[in-house]
Symmetry: C2
Subunit: 561 residues, 2 copies
Amino acid sequence: MAVGDFNGNYEKVKEFIDEAERYSVDLICFPELTLTGYPPEDLLLRRDFIDDNLAVLNEVVAFTRGRNIVVAIGYVDVGDGLYNALAVIYDGEIKGVYHKVSLPNYGVFDEKRYFSQGKRLNIFAIRGTKVGFSICEDIWDPYGPVPRQVLAGVDLLVNVSASPYHISKIRLREEMLRVRARDFRVPVVYVNLIGGQDELVFDGSSVVFDPKGRTVARAKSFEEALLVVDVEPNIIYKGSSQIGAAKGKVQEVSIEGLSIGEKPPITPVICEPLPFLEEVYQALLLGTKDYVRKNGFNKVVIGLSGGIDSSLVATIAADALGPEKVVGVFMPSRYTSEESSQAVKQLAGNLGIELYIIPIEPVFKSYLELLGVYLSKASSGVAEENLQARIRGNILMALSNSFGWLVLTTGNKSELACGYATLYGDMAGGFAVIKDLPKTLVYELARWRNKKAGRDLIPQIVLTRPPSAELRPGQKDTDDLPPYEVLDPIMELYVEEGLSIEEIVKEGFDKGYVENVVQRLKNSEYKRRQAPPGIKVTPRAFGKDWRMPITNRWRPFVTKM
Amino acid sequence: MAVGDFNGNYEKVKEFIDEAERYSVDLICFPELTLTGYPPEDLLLRRDFIDDNLAVLNEVVAFTRGRNIVVAIGYVDVGDGLYNALAVIYDGEIKGVYHKVSLPNYGVFDEKRYFSQGKRLNIFAIRGTKVGFSICEDIWDPYGPVPRQVLAGVDLLVNVSASPYHISKIRLREEMLRVRARDFRVPVVYVNLIGGQDELVFDGSSVVFDPKGRTVARAKSFEEALLVVDVEPNIIYKGSSQIGAAKGKVQEVSIEGLSIGEKPPITPVICEPLPFLEEVYQALLLGTKDYVRKNGFNKVVIGLSGGIDSSLVATIAADALGPEKVVGVFMPSRYTSEESSQAVKQLAGNLGIELYIIPIEPVFKSYLELLGVYLSKASSGVAEENLQARIRGNILMALSNSFGWLVLTTGNKSELACGYATLYGDMAGGFAVIKDLPKTLVYELARWRNKKAGRDLIPQIVLTRPPSAELRPGQKDTDDLPPYEVLDPIMELYVEEGLSIEEIVKEGFDKGYVENVVQRLKNSEYKRRQAPPGIKVTPRAFGKDWRMPITNRWRPFVTKM
């Protein structure tokens, strides 16, 4: 599914319905907002967009005519406002509509910007089996509609989601769902969106639990598929339907007429959860692949420096797109070491990607000649360092403009947090693959990928030598930044956990380091604002879940009392 | 006031209280979220930030001890959530707190991301005069708390706001407030924030209406000041306090002990509303001045091309900051006309700003030599055009890096809508002054400014010759874009009004033009995502009120039925 791709999404929906029918499936469930894609953001404010979404829904309804299958599909409903909705369709007719009740408006989510809160609590009796449908946040929210659906008496809970990936999310989600199944003693069917959409990756990881919280089926994460499962609405406890119904809010929708027919035997798929690093890597692959594919690019181009970041990005790109779609560009300067040159050539050879070598010296020289008289003698250092990065950015963009290639940037989260990157230089490009990876995780992933390859796909020297931008003689990252093993946990505590400087120091970190990181973080907001989007991997990325003012005069307030 | 500037905001609050006391003022009202500044965005998610805000509030409370004045001041309150709150303080004590009820979560606003909805409806009886306080959106919302406050019986409505400027907003706001005063037959006191904060400009325009909707006082827009006014709570109608009180929601807070004393006679200030173009220009001045000042820049640098956009930006900068703080840089290429050269020199002379002339030819040549073999013969045109723009961007950034100057970009809204700008080229910089001005308004403002100066501050030729980027021989904007008189209204109808292509065509626009603009708009989302912030002037700017996916496969859906 892709945002706005009404034609493509419709075709896919038809294919899946056809496939499900071959398994004699009674009920097929598609993810949250399947027809529009998720999140459609401000496209939702356009009437013509909403109308198109309703037109596609009509087509889907017509497509079900004469078929022996119930279809539950996410779309945008229109009433006295917009609703994040699920239509339950059978035999050419919408039998009922569910409206999402709990609208997330935190983190990357803006649902209260667009949607009205659902007020109905309808239960769908599909050939007698009472199904409580809910949408994403609805089942996370302990005060949401699900406990009330259970009290009204359901045999089965179905949650359709567009739940974006971050580290530990899949585990948190499964734990929550397992507890819901046990709490309410009903099977829980969880259907999640798959695919990359700008900075978000939806991991899928659809899963089914029985009333004891045992895994009945689990789809492969990061891969679109039809998960077919026989759910036994094994009712060991039934809530009193009077409690909910008494409030006059629960409406029961009956869907009859499904013929039972012959069902082929189903062997449920139960994929194992992925190990940690593989899971992160898969998220990066899917995010990259989908950004490239959905935006219609044929090739990507990456500036290779011989450092760990660009080496990992090139490896991810080659894995995601195939090496024939990746062009590496090595742009040495007077400060580039022989080691870097060797590393780049080796890497390109290992990955089997095309490599251009374009030394920037002549252009750098011409800039220095031109600007020499203008730049301040005292402080030309940073200007000259940034110039080199910007020449490289210009070269990559020129190739992009000439051939229509997408430039992948190579900066990591630690750099971006500290503003240790050049705006319009190494930050120039369309998509920032590892933007949300702390530097220490960059190393871990690179090592893991080598191990998986059974050889040094990324050359050993890249992994072992100290990181350097090579923009002045003998430069090292640690000249300006704390060591990454210190920087990364400080960043995590400040950005993700929201701890204060004092609290982080109390956790055992050096005060000077903590203040350095926080100061750098605050001073580089303007850079992050102009950074390209990249894949969210941590619980809080520098994207839609980081909305900081640039103009920010916050210094700790000192009371004079 | 500035976001996060607890120390500075506190000092200012004290000064205003002192000044108000000299006028024997009974009640001084500060704007919404005075202590934190508005909008604090995700700083609100930090506990240490909230704590600092409470610490400052305590200082303000202590400061009022022994003084004969009631202080109403905006801050963030903490309860079972965060509240956008107003503390009413007298003699070293918080007498009561009001929590904002109607939380805007549309346009540029994200208040439901941070705040819980207020539940209390307290009325403050200040020496017997019953005051209904509300915060910004509360008084816009016809279903908000204000009608209920009136039913509970108030003698006076006070609304404290942080209401950002856009064209026609001041008029709309005054109309609404005037109607509230008449509807409820009570005086309405409206106190609005002043100042620029990233892309927003708060225009102030504080105003007081009597119960007949007549203007009693009006402060100057775009200027911080204490507006002193004698409000006659001339009660010609009183609601029944039973209706509201019966619901158990209205709490009356009594503030006694104010001594009446001698009041000096007050002549109310009633400033005239500004004429349209002057109003827009003032907004741009304040937005520019405050971004520069609050971010600690000493000078700005602007690339001057001899075109209308950079000429207007330089004029605004010189007016906002003084010519001694503005550096113009003219960077001619092989395609730059003699006319442009003349125009730039004349403009710099007229404005009295410093001018650097740095021809880009040597660097451009060195790039062409370096990249010649790599660029596609067929499509090197765009690459070469963009290279010129990027060399200029690099030069400005080198000056910025070397001297700490802020680069002001010069692109307008029509260009940005159509992607008719070079990422990392003319889009490179920290603040985009006229980012939200349609090109036709750029011309209007330039003419207005010349008229006001009584001479051609911006040279005549700049206003009369056809716009051109001068990146290839004989280039004109109209080679690629519809004429701006057509483009601008199409853009307005699509972006601000949300009309569909068909609807715009029905308004009398050429279908080819409309499709061209809409296609360009969609294809350039990735550029806008990386654009610097700039001043919001129209009802919908390409900023926080434009949250569009980059990955967007929306094409009109064609039903096959």
